[in-house]
Symmetry: D3
Subunit: 201 residues, 6 copies
């Protein structure tokens, strides 16, 4: 059993660490200081910039004007603004993403382990939807023109697990094919076929 | 002292109760049921709809397409989508608002007692800003054309205290003029003058 | 888009509600009272028994001695002890399960949206493993004899999403086949074939 | 084993329920409404008064001027102001107590299961002390004149377990004498002797 | 808009960082170690002293016997005992303050972004009042003799925003006068006059 | 009073620090790195291993197969698996213990300041019991053969205070005998007698 669980754990270790289920902030502000950690020391979250080094730009992110490139297998792209690229978000428990959809594009089934998502569709009716924390969800562009949505999260780094890629695209180690075959009740050939589609991910 | 504190308390009691500093959700979903509370019983938050009565529309809000009317003293209007009008948000710890600004319009200094705000400006550069929970902040449209922003909060009902109106516009009871005069170091006439501007609020 | 999201929402509404990300307890004890809610009123969590009605049995669950029936497609069965059958767990933020595995049995890939799991294998080395909250995990019995494990959770009702069944077994409404086809990069026939295996779930 | 655990559980059930490890407030205010619960329904915490019924007095407690009667076996008395007698404290996560000490009086070893205590000695140096949540602590008046202290807690109802009374004074059922004898490594006669001192508690 | 938001952010950066909305303690004790942070590293909260260096004095603050000097514009002074001067409070989620009032003195309208306050008036009736987290409040001494109160908070560092000073006294950068004029509906001269009173703050 | 409180505080300082009332995890994983802290720096919790250094073994504990040695005064032994010996538990909010009981053995009255305990008896009926956070509890083996139980906690390090040993076994400084005499209403000789039994602890 250890070997299979190892697969699970290393799969996590390869994923970018993600912050979630955020406890309350511990200061008015604790702007993430990406540089002050020397040597092997890594913290749960980020250390804070010294107040005298904080500037307005630490709370400001200009980069969401450009459409994401949706030329991929699912026809969608997520551009995230979280504590990894907007340091002022550290300890504040929120983040935001721009999601671009090609015509008929799909943001495939996934979960955010540590945040609820509220999504705002920029086109047309400006509809608002909400996806509860940790539950599988997806969005599909049902139109023949590109679409854009803004998603907000109650975490500084919500984390994302894309279901198909997590199960069929994992490497070093992969989820064993016999496990996937029994879980999806398909034969090993079908598993290998699906895995082949996620090879270069 | 009791009388002055009464002013403080009744001022709150008149305000719409607002949810904030939200604890974690207690179910996959707990869609707010606005009708099941009979008699005087009021809860901390909302009760849940029975699962068989939950529909997709409980998680969907269509109403943000219309610009808010900014024809007011400050030249801005906030249209909120929170647990009071989107029942699916109950227990999920997020909400969203549309903010319209007239040219040179101001969303005046205010606080959200129980949520951090992340704001996304729809026009131009799609800039993103963040305002930490409980701290005084404001936005101003520095352009000569209307502007629109989307604000997301890590609370299902963040609560808002507009500073000037809270202090000078409160009624039954008002904040005593001598208190305001000493706090702002102005004379009583100036206090009455400012209060008169907030009379009809 | 609304229609697809509806699919997502109703899928939740059909699932048994699950408690998670539990806030701290609010009393020494708040034994779940399954009977006191009259009419349509449903709460976020459970109401409490009156103290004079609480007995030792509310904190005691005798039923884990019998092995679960593992004669199913995956060769495993989970027997849960949570706030739904051990009322004393209400507000206490813990629960426990017995997991039986047939020889070579699989507890297929799944997530617990609101709890970390720590598992204790009763046979052999009494190994202990931990699975972080919200992340996909699975266990497989690599032996030719039955196995038993005890899993503990830091939630009174952790919630479970079995990946394959959530995506391919959902009914009223089903996840659209074209969505699954694009997500897994397989053709519609393969999707229908997999769905057919989860028909009677 | 069930019988002994029953002793433990019923002992709790007899204690006044106490709030602790308080989650964040869910409204600006949720003044405890002691009367709106009809029939058997009991909640985790208290329901809220309707806003129009809230008054300044709900946030005001006048009663700490009178010294507590310290004519008892330990020479101290705690007068508590918590959510049970100051309804405005509901959901706010704080409470306060007045502690009176006779000369050489003792507030015997006890724990607060759900709050840290910060204590302010009114006499003399106005010293301040802090006792971490859940840890055994006590205070003793080392002087030959009465003393008074104010204790504040980060819970609306911290809960108190007085060690000696919990173990030797519990009734229906009592903690078994053989258990106490082995725990304190004394003989059964000594246990009965100590129990006799707590008989009328 | 960036420039105005910069004003807001730098204003925060100049304020002493304050702890609030405290998550639960992570150890029995984690006495703040003010000296162990070398170089630029700053944490969210404080690191802990090594257990062998902890002494009783880390949990003891003797300094509240002296009255605060109320010879200022508002006639009140707050003397705070929090994690910045009582290291044992680190991670414990409580703090305390002594508030001195001159005759007719005012503790002007302010908020604590991250704590509820419970206040105990030492003179006369020993009244108790509570102010919910994040909401504007004030106290006034309605008598012609000095008064003293003890305030307790459910945070190790509650943070304070004095409204008038935050808006009219901020420097580098100041809140723009046209913003204040529109917010309070007064002319620019009146704004400059009020600002002049807060110049030396 | 300071001296007595010192006794209390140093008593804590001598105890192994224990984690509890755990806030939510801040990453998918934050495997405790026991070695990266240089010099005097100590954190609230543990720092994280660099992801590339994480292995399956960080989430795996093999050591609970051996029975604990119950040859002691109470006839029981607790073998704990927590963040101190299973580094993958860091930030995950769970831990587990194996409890061995000699025939008629007692796990004496104690509290866990920061976790609820759910216990699973391996012998016989596999009964399950739960003990609410912070409350005094105990277990006794009522049979004439050894017994084993597995206890799970909703904290990565629950902390334990064994009542009798905390009060009568503390050294440097001891709890004063006159305090114990008055608390238990026994004479000083009896106190010294009980203390003598805990001398070598």
């Amino acid at each position: 059993m250890a070997k299979l669980l190892a697969a699970f754990v290393v799969l996590l270790a390869l994923a970018a660490p993600s912050i979630a289920g955020d406890p309350d902030m511990l200061q008015d502000i604790c702007v993430a200081d990406y540089k002050s950690l020397k040597g092997p020391l890594r913290l749960n979250g980020f250390p804070c910039k010294r107040p005298e080094n904080v500037t307005a730009n630490d709370f400001f992110f200009p980069g969401l004007i450009n459409p994401g490139n949706t030329g991929n297998a699912v026809g969608s792209l997520v551009t995230a603004v979280n504590v990894n690229n907007l340091p002022g978000l550290n300890t504040l428990g929120v983040s935001i993403s721009r999601i671009d959809y090609a015509p008929w594009g799909l943001n495939p089934p996934h979960t955010h382990p540590r945040a609820t998502e509220i999504i705002f569709v920029l086109e047309g009716s400006l509809d608002v939807f909400v996806f509860p924390r940790g539950l599988v969800h997806f969005q599909k562009n049902n139109g023949n023109s590109p679409a854009v949505a803004i998603a907000a999260f109650n975490s500084q780094l919500p984390g994302t697990q894309s279901i198909a890629e997590t199960l069929f695209g994992a490497a070093s180690p992969a989820v064993p094919s016999d496990t996937l075959a029994r879980a999806f009740q398909i034969d090993g050939g079908m598993v290998e076929f699906i895995k082949s589609k996620f090879q270069h991910k």
